[in-house]
């Protein structure tokens, strides 16, 4: 399976932003990270009516076909003519679901932690808060690292977006958004701009200027209006949250939902790809984190403890994928051994819910943002 990055042009043609939905984006390891990305919707003659229109790429009898949206609707309703009824379709649907379960079960020959028994156990971890970034007036909702491994952008419920130098804890820029609950922010790969959005239903890109006197708000560009609030945005290198118990994987070329996983018992708050791209981890309100392998098409590990009863809000992998950092609503961060399924460390320090956790681009540290208005750098 080849998952392509989602891309979206806009006035400033810099980012992709997606409304509250369960969507995943594969970080392309070879693609150059740049501020310019391209529109990826096909437009052309419909295979059915021949008119030039925006096309939906669908599969009919395993063959990829391009239909315009009107023809897709007509095709989907042609069932009546060929003798299909709700009953026959429901029956086929049930038999397919059973078949899917059987196929998945056949391949479930062993558990990940059993295979991982021969792997060396990890030693004691000593991780401490190395920096505390104070300055937000309200809950920190989101943060992102710059590729230079030292700058961080964070956004908060008070409507402020701050760019920090994590080495010195100095604030380099501060922008006040016209809305509160700035739930998403991202650093441009070039390091020259940040994108953020929230209850204002759109994603705005602010160029970062070295001139302290410049009014950054005046230079902002609006990108991508949505009909709902923006929960996450990125410069073609991030992962989107789901708002229900399902984790869906989409093939960006066809717009097709190719895989779906529904084993969590509650809302999924965070989804992150494993560094190799063959798996992903989720954090959920059911107080567990889980690992799903895309090629085995099933859940392969659960990270949970009876003593953990609060939901996990955010997860991220270390560079090698051996460690999973998860921030919880009980103010702690748990560090899990991905292969063995055990917890290797529990980190205290925040005085309220941890809302976001991100490992730095070179893997030397990770940053956590919390409802206690601060961010902490751990190493």
């Amino acid at each position: 399976m080849n998952y392509w990055t989602l891309a979206l042009t806009s006035l400033s043609s810099a980012i992709c932003s997606i409304p509250f939905s369960s969507l995943q984006v594969q970080p392309q390891p070879d693609a150059k990270m740049c501020d310019q990305t391209f529109l990826a919707i096909t437009f052309g003659p419909c295979d059915s009516c021949g008119l030039n229109k925006p096309l939906m790429n669908i599969y009919l009898k395993n063959e990829p076909i391009n239909y315009c949206s009107l023809c897709v609707e007509l095709m989907a309703c042609q069932g009546l003519a060929t003798g299909e009824t709700i009953h026959t379709l429901k029956a086929e649907s049930e038999s397919l679901k059973t078949k899917l379960e059987e196929e998945r079960a056949k391949l479930h020959d062993v558990e990940l932690h059993q295979v991982a028994e021969k792997v060396e156990a990890l030693g004691q971890f000593v991780m401490k808060t190395r920096r505390t970034l104070k300055g937000h007036g309200n809950k920190v909702l989101c943060m992102d690292w710059c590729r230079d491994k030292r700058r961080i952008v964070s956004s908060s419920q008070d409507g402020k977006v701050i760019v920090w130098d994590a080495y010195t804890t100095n604030k380099e820029h501060a922008v006040t958004m016209p809305c509160t609950w700035v739930m998403a922010c991202a650093y441009a790969p070039s390091g020259c701009a940040v994108a953020c959005g929230g209850l204002d239903n759109k994603c705005s890109v602010y160029p970062l200027s070295l001139d302290k006197n410049e009014n950054l708000s005046a230079k902002k560009k609006s990108v991508a209006m949505h009909t709902n609030y923006l929960s996450s945005c990125s410069f073609t290198n991030s992962d989107m949250q789901g708002c229900d118990k399902k984790a869906n994987v989409w093939d960006m070329r066809s717009g097709q939902n190719v895989q779906s996983f529904e084993t969590h018992e509650s809302d999924i708050n965070s989804v992150k790809y494993y560094p190799s791209g063959d798996a992903f981890a989720t954090g959920s309100d059911d107080a567990t984190c889980r690992l799903y392998d895309l090629r085995a098409d099933r859940e392969v590990a659960i990270y949970s403890k009876e003593s953990i009863i609060f939901g996990a809000s955010s997860v991220d992998f270390s560079l090698s994928g051996r460690l999973l950092f998860a921030g919880y609503n009980d103010y702690t961060i748990n560090v899990w051994d991905v292969l063995k399924g055990t917890r290797v460390a529990i980190l205290f320090g925040h005085e309220n819910r941890v809302s976001t956790v991100r490992v730095s681009p070179d893997g030397t540290a990770f940053c956590s943002g919390s409802w206690d208005n601060t961010l902490r750098i751990w190493a």
């Binding site: 395993n62 717009g255 939902n257 895989q259 099933r298 292969l339």
Partner: protein, 80 residues
């Protein structure tokens, strides 16, 4: 996009929306049933191999000396 199409259809064609929805479900399930799958033992082995190969490049895993980590405090020095 999938759910957007479904809701668009149900607002346009009231009578046949259940049928259209069922048809889409079946097509969706056919796609899911047709993908290639591998055994968990193989998938796990691959995950373990990836971890093993990249472990040495993972500073949080291996721990790097304080002098190389910009976030860790260096030994205190006195200014004479």
């Amino acid at each position: 996009m999938h759910s957007y199409m479904v809701s668009k259809m149900s607002s346009k064609m009231v009578g046949s929306n259940n049928l259209a929805h069922a048809r889409r479900m079946v097509q969706q399930l056919r796609v899911e049933a047709s993908i290639e799958r591998i055994k968990v033992s193989k998938a796990s082995a691959d995950l373990m191999r990836y971890c093993g190969e990249n472990a040495k490049y993972d500073p949080l895993l291996m721990g790097i000396p304080a002098s190389e980590n910009p976030f860790k405090d260096k030994k205190p020095c006195t200014i004479l």
